[in-house]
Assembly symmetry: C2
């Protein structure tokens, strides 16, 4: 097939006419498909139903060191849940505080802690004229929503194939003490599925920030969320920070939301001793303790080292065909015309489509009018502003595969139409 960019105006018009017909036919079906959020499917949720058989009316409710899970106390979480979350995060149990149901909530609270009370004896951020935050882009919209809510200036950091551009990060944090943090999703990043290389992790751990209270927010959301047998590994950031004599640099986060139940699992923060003691000063005022019963349920369900891994393979078996279907549809429909590009992720929850510049918003709108809800264009950027208007996040997990097939088809039709419109307009000028 001829690339669109090599087509004559007449050829472009003819191709557009063809695709318009296909588009109208899809519209006529009156579909209603949602690819907008990284939610697990019902089939995936069903995998964890045995969790509800773990505790019954006759269960022993004390945890392994004798703590009663049904009563107040144990601020750091029960010891077996600390072990489980440490295993998922590849860190030490004593570095972990197991909290409630949402790692996003812990991240918000940790930013809020810096804002209200400060880290490491520094001025609380609420008392400063200006706070800046580094945002590798494209990234997770809900991270950016947090730093926007606090009124921080968000600075876009380009993503390379192996993580954020560390030349840029190093230069900025060394020069500017109003930069207080960076958002990172180090494994199977949201939305590109990028895995940080050892070099990137080491350079992150070795940052020399001008601000003593600069912190790396390490959202290890997809630590065990592999799509394939070959599992990507990243270096242990807490260990690397210690090696780099930078032990206070990082807060790591994870949850079981995409292991067991989304919003019904357990979440945790891991950090070094000093950070931990500092967090606990606020935590001990904020709550008498988190839900230890759900911790017990999870820890008893995932008893041995291998059980998390086996469980995640079951997820992968459901997710893999969905990812592959979308990639295959893109390859079949978009490679020929030379329309955009994409990465085939090895894990995580998203596929990023990089559309021809200036067409992302149009693609999302076209898809919406044909009944396919995509994540809004711009969403993976601070202030929802994609400078190139080209990044679209595709979330293939939630819909059943037959719906996904339709959605992917509609999507590639929309992508091609938008690209054709762009080329036609360019030729006309």
């Amino acid at each position: 097939m001829k690339k669109y960019s090599e087509m004559s105006p007449e050829e472009l018009e003819a191709e557009k006419e063809l695709l318009r017909k296909e588009y109208v036919a899809w519209q006529a079906k009156g579909l209603k498909l949602d690819m907008s959020r990284g939610k697990p499917s019902v089939e995936q949720l069903n995998l964890s139903m045995p969790l509800f058989d773990i505790l019954d009316g006759k269960s022993l409710m004390k945890c392994m060191n004798g703590v009663e899970t049904r009563n107040y106390g144990q601020l750091e979480g029960i010891v077996e849940a600390q072990h489980l979350m440490a295993e998922i995060m590849d860190c030490q149990p004593e570095q972990v505080i197991v909290c409630g149901n949402s790692s996003l909530n812990i991240m918000f609270d940790t930013v809020a802690r810096g804002y209200m009370f400060g880290f490491d004896g520094c001025t609380p951020w609420c008392k400063l004229e200006r706070v800046k935050w580094l945002c590798p882009v494209p990234g997770y919209d809900r991270h950016f929503a947090i730093t926007q809510h606090f009124g921080f200036d968000m600075i876009n950091i380009p993503m390379n194939e192996d993580g954020p551009d560390m030349d840029v990060v190093e230069g900025l944090v060394a020069a500017d003490d109003t930069i207080k943090g960076i958002w990172c999703v180090p494994k199977y990043s949201n939305p590109q599925g990028i895995v940080y290389s050892d070099e990137v992790v080491r350079r992150m751990a070795n940052l020399k920030p001008a601000a003593k209270d600069f912190r790396v927010f390490w959202d290890n959301a997809y630590a065990v969320h592999h799509l394939y047998k070959e599992k990507s590994k990243i270096l242990n950031i807490l260990h690397e920070c210690e090696e780099a004599d930078n032990p206070n640099l990082v807060f790591e986060f994870a949850s079981t939301s995409k292991i067991t139940f989304a919003g019904g699992g357990i979440a945790a923060i891991a950090c070094n001793h000093n950070n931990r003691e500092e967090l606990k000063k606020t935590l001990t005022v904020q709550t008498i303790g988190f839900d230890k019963i759900n911790m017990l349920r999870h820890a008893r369900y995932f008893q041995d080292v291998e059980s998390v891994s086996k469980h995640m393979e079951r997820h992968a078996k459901i997710l893999r065909p969905k990812f592959e279907l979308v990639i295959k549809t893109m390859e079949e429909d978009l490679t020929g015309p030379g329309c955009g590009s994409w990465i085939s992720p090895k894990g995580g929850y998203f596929i990023t489509f990089e559309a021809p510049k200036g067409t992302a918003t149009r693609i999302v709108d076209l898809a919406a009018e044909a009944g396919v809800k995509l994540t809004p264009a711009g969403a993976p950027f601070p202030y929802h502003m994609d400078p190139g208007d080209s990044i679209i996040r595709f979330a293939p997990s939630l819909p059943p595969i037959e719906e996904l097939e339709e959605a992917a088809k509609i999507f590639t039709v929309c992508a091609r139409i938008a690209y054709l419109e762009k080329l036609i307009l360019a030729k006309a000028e």
Copy 2:
């Protein structure tokens, strides 16, 4: 028996000698009893074990309006949990946001919201030179810990038999716009067990604060926690605030921590529409949603209107004898000597002993040395400073009744010794 205050120095010494012997005998037993925190007993926790039979591996996990409880979303909580918490708080379901496991955490977050982002368009409290907070005393130590953590100036408000002294409250809030809030436990107050009268609730709802962002923090922690068939009632504060044309004045809080499991239940905030929409602006950034599965478990367990009430009667059956035992021991041992005073609460979790002035710290120390851990003297006051050194909070719920019997006996011995010491010292001067 002769009142201690009427005894001669010789009589006082003789009585003290007698009690000292008794005290040493108790010490010799090497007991280790904890009456310091309002924790439910194991017997009470066992009442709710059937909760774990509500969901199993085959349960339907959608709630009544079709929302999938195992996936993200539904920021306000599932509708049946809103109904349950509204029933407990005696308000409307649409006024309720059901959150995580801890009402204290919601209170902290609500104060933090005012501190970071402000209420009602007012300057966030973190930007102000000074913030003051009204603290009816004695009160709940963990409330005071929150406002102390934020660095607010806490002002003691005297408690009358029917609630806070409203003359004082009205005068202060009308005159000083740096006063931003008041802590209230309106029913079976912590620690005195006081129930706010209709007049107090109405005057609270009709406050005319100088600060537009002044808020009443209405911790309805013991809303259904009656010890007797005769149930104390309070007016619905949300309704009264609306009647008073003061709809934004109040945030109400409650949890099932002392209904089902302490730290393993569900918690909620209730407020009017404007406050609710304002809270949601932050909540929607802070989390993708709270644990809806535990909400579903609770809502299905307490299906009909009467089931909460019946469940609480089972709690009362366990708690009542404990409260009565402590009161009876105080009556038997302390009425004669005229040593201190106390209120017999009709609900809640505490008994307050008002010791002779200047003896509370001594009593707590004496008890500790005899193996009985009491809430530290001063704890029910801001900054842990009891101006009269006379208030002791007694928490009878946790220990088994035979331990409680010993603890109460030891307690009255300590109270009498401390009083005798005081009288002997006074006579000597």
